[in-house]
């Protein structure tokens, strides 16, 4: 009797394990096929777009939403791409830069804000936004494992790669929001009367960033940045770090430390944080961190001259 019971229990567990593994691989295969057709949307689509054109590009801009909305790459270089995406940080840029071709001469701009270097809690989590490529790209898998953020079951359960991405893949596969062939990656922020009202309220408030307790640079951030520098130096890439315009002043101590770090490591750094400043036309801003399309165009035009 006991043996029959144990056998049934083991059989049930085996059924669960085998069915799950098979279903997991079928779902993974299906979603992989579907995701390969997706070239729109800020998550899966923009990365696919980047991967499809990266070898031909002459200029690529990396960064978060500030890069995405500030660098009008169409003005900077006709063969450029803006890979700025909201919420992304150094681990994400570092990985995507490591995917660039080794021989081709390319300009790489990273929009970097000094305060990001001092975020104590930064653990490279943004790299997980590339996890859908974990089983498709060795470099991405290696770098995810390097920051030790892969899901413990990801090597067995492959569909975990698509966690949180199912509906965006489905939506962008069926209904792409734009024609990616005409897309440079730059998303201008158009100022409307409602947005202007909200902006005025936001700009009237003092900045909330605490400048007193951020004395130490995040070691992981520094490590990833230096890896990026090494890759670019060794692979014919010109790396330029840029701080695009900010409405409020940066923390003095953070700015100074970053400048020391830059000069010590002989990096190219262009600080445009005070390019407009508080006295500038309100129409240049959407909020304290983001330029409007008008502001972004002015900034990009200026940057174009310097790049030339």
């Amino acid at each position: 009797m006991l043996n029959v019971k144990i056998k049934t229990i083991l059989k049930t567990i085996l059924i669960v394990v085998f069915t799950t593994l098979i279903a997991d691989k079928i779902i993974y295969w299906g979603l992989t096929q579907l995701s390969k057709t997706v070239f729109t949307g800020q998550g899966v689509g923009k990365v696919n777009h980047y991967l499809s054109i990266k070898d031909e590009l002459e200029l690529i801009v990396f960064g978060s939403s500030r890069a995405n909305h500030h660098f009008n790459v169409g003005l900077l270089n006709s063969n450029g791409f803006n890979m700025g995406v909201d919420g992304r940080d150094m681990a994400y840029f570092n990985t995507l830069i490591h995917l660039l071709p080794k021989e081709k001469k390319q300009q790489v701009i990273i929009n970097i804000d000094p305060k990001n270097l001092f975020v104590k809690a930064y653990s490279g989590e943004d790299i997980l936004l590339l996890k859908n490529l974990y089983h498709q790209n060795e470099i991405i898998a290696e770098r995810i494992e390097q920051v030790a953020l892969e899901h413990p079951l990801q090597t067995v359960l492959w569909s975990l790669d698509y966690n949180g991405k199912f509906f965006s893949i489905l939506k962008n596969s069926i209904l792409p929001a734009y024609n990616h062939k005409n897309y440079s990656g730059y998303d201008p922020l158009v100022l409307t009367p409602t947005k202007a009202k909200i902006r005025d309220k936001v700009l009237a408030k003092a900045p909330t960033h605490d400048c007193t307790n951020h004395a130490l640079m995040n070691p992981l951030y520094v490590k990833l940045l230096m890896e990026t520098v090494t890759f670019c130096n060794n692979n014919n890439k010109q790396l330029i770090l840029v701080t695009s315009p900010l409405y409020f002043e940066q923390c003095k101590n953070e700015k100074e430390q970053m400048e020391q770090f830059i000069s010590k490591n002989k990096l190219t750094y262009w600080d445009y944080s005070e390019f407009f400043g508080k006295e500038s036309k309100p129409a240049y801003w959407i909020d304290a961190l983001h330029l409007s399309a008008e502001g972004a165009t002015l900034f990009s035009s200026h940057l174009k001259q310097r790049l030339q």
Binding site: K5, T8, I9, K11, T12, I15, V16, T19, T20, A23, D24, I27, G43, P152, L153, L157, S159, L160, Y162, N163, G164, K165, F166, F167, S168, K171
Partner: protein, 467 residues
């Protein structure tokens, strides 16, 4: 250790295998279970194990002493020792700062300046649950409903049994202790039901509740920035978040217990399918509402005296039930709203009347209103949210991350449809899988695992851990 962690995924099967290998040696099996339970709890913070051990020791000896005492007065003294110890621990660790702040504020109202004397105390996880559990043991012995156990290992195992230790269900000694004291058997029906319930619980927690939290948390964190429609949507989501979070936790607890041969009582029974608040409390956090009824409401006199006394008893019970959840006035108001409507229903409703659709709507609206106080950081925020919901709900809500919102809505729909199916077919979740053959069970669990893979969201904790 969290039920939704990798640690628990390794811990549970290991415990189950060793536990069943010891099947023929009950004492060794219980000792192992006790050690595993302490490891489970100590994983979070081993220092607070001392509180469980103190509480267990006191109630073990108090139970025996009450039983041995022949005089009523002596019994009462022993009971008071148990009450003093358990409620004392709760008062220090959970309510000290609340009462100190309230006292200082009250004094200021009279013009006397009293400095705040607050302590930097960490709330030990699960203290509200195991305190109530051990209290019920001594009170039941005092009321001569049960006899105490002499088996100290069995008693300590009963108090600390890992599936129910940190967030319930609050298991009574009358149900659980006899199971601890006798040898357990794992039937195939229990195995199937337990396995299914663990996965359903995981789905409810990490797929539904945690995806809803992605919308709810930022909105409630800055309620003043959002319009009425957004706040209404966030409150609606919160109503389901807390249900699926806590019901999910209870499912994993009950399912895990089944795999080690224990039968826990149901803790949730589709509470949002209730046509009045009275019925809601028979279906929501059943182990707590039964505890409050048996040890508080009935102790206050229940409904045996005048009707006005019954109303008073209901309101006091619910106010204290609110305070049990947390040391803040918001929780007291939450309890007060439920107490008030329970009293109103007793006065104006014919509770035996068959359910009407309007009853379901009324119940959900009252519960929703009470959740605003429960979730808000303070009273003024709750009032602001209510004002905005009343005055500006007919506008578009804030969408945020569209992908996250679609995922939350889709998974909520799956959860609600499943609950509706259970309600319509009058099925009991705890028993539904018992009759399935192993292929059906295997396929259904695999489907749940795929949903977990694709849609899980991460959250720090179960909501009820903070209580």
């Amino acid at each position: 250790m969290l039920f939704n962690s990798i640690e628990y995924l390794l811990f549970l099967p290991t415990v189950i295998i060793i536990y069943w290998l010891l099947q023929k040696r009950l004492r060794a099996q219980n000792l192992f279970l006790l050690a595993a339970s302490y490891l489970f709890y100590g994983w979070w913070d081993w220092r607070f194990l001392s509180l469980i051990i103190i509480s267990s020791f006191v109630d073990y000896f108090v139970g025996l002493s009450i039983f041995k005492s022949k005089e009523k007065k002596a019994c009462k003294r022993w009971l008071l020792l148990s009450l003093f110890t358990n409620l004392g621990l709760l008062a220090v660790f959970k309510y000290f700062n609340f009462f100190a702040e309230t006292f200082a504020q009250s004094m200021r109202l009279f013009g006397w300046h009293v400095n705040d004397v607050t302590l930097n105390i960490i709330l030990p996880v699960g203290i509200s649950f195991y305190t109530f559990q051990t209290l019920s043991y001594t009170i039941d012995i005092y009321r001569k409903k049960i006899e105490p156990t002499k088996n100290i290992v069995a008693f300590f195992t009963y108090v600390s049994l890992f599936p129910q230790l940190v967030a319930g269900p609050i298991e009574r000694a009358s149900n659980l202790l006899p199971q601890v004291e006798s040898s357990r058997k794992l039937t195939l029906a229990m195995f199937k039901a337990g396995l299914f319930q663990i996965f359903i619980g995981l789905f409810r927690k990490v797929v539904i509740a945690d995806n809803l939290a992605v919308y709810v948390d930022p909105v409630y964190a800055h309620a003043e920035l959002h319009n009425g429609a957004t706040l209404l949507l966030a409150t609606l989501f919160y109503a389901f978040q807390i249900y699926f979070d806590f019901a999910g936790y209870s499912d994993i607890a009950i399912g895990s217990a089944k795999l080690i041969g224990f039968n826990f009582k149901r803790n949730f029974n589709l509470p949002y399918f209730s046509h009045n608040i009275t019925t809601f409390w028979r279906k929501w956090h059943i182990s707590l509402s039964n505890w409050l009824r048996d040890y508080l409401y009935i102790s206050l006199g229940g409904n045996r005296k005048r009707i006005k006394i019954t109303y008073r008893n209901l309101i006091i019970t619910m106010l204290l039930g609110g305070l049990w959840h947390g040391s803040a006035w918001n929780f007291v108001i939450w309890g007060g709203i439920h107490g008030l409507f329970l009293s109103l229903e007793k006065r104006f409703f014919n509770l035996s009347k068959s359910p009407h659709i309007l009853g379901y709507v009324y119940t959900f609206c009252v519960v929703l209103l009470s959740w605003i106080f429960f979730r808000s950081s303070d009273f003024s925020t709750a009032i602001l949210i209510i004002e905005r919901i009343v005055s500006q709900s007919i506008i578009l809500p804030f969408v945020g991350d569209i992908n996250a919102l679609i995922t939350a809505l889709a998974m909520l729909s799956v959860g609600l449809l499943f609950d509706y199916y259970l309600f319509k077919k009058q099925l009991i979740l705890e028993e539904i899988a018992e009759a399935w053959n192993i292929y059906k069970l295997g396929f259904i669990i695999s489907a749940i695992i795929i949903l977990l893979e694709l849609f899980y969201s991460t959250s720090e904790n179960f909501i009820y851990f903070q209580f």
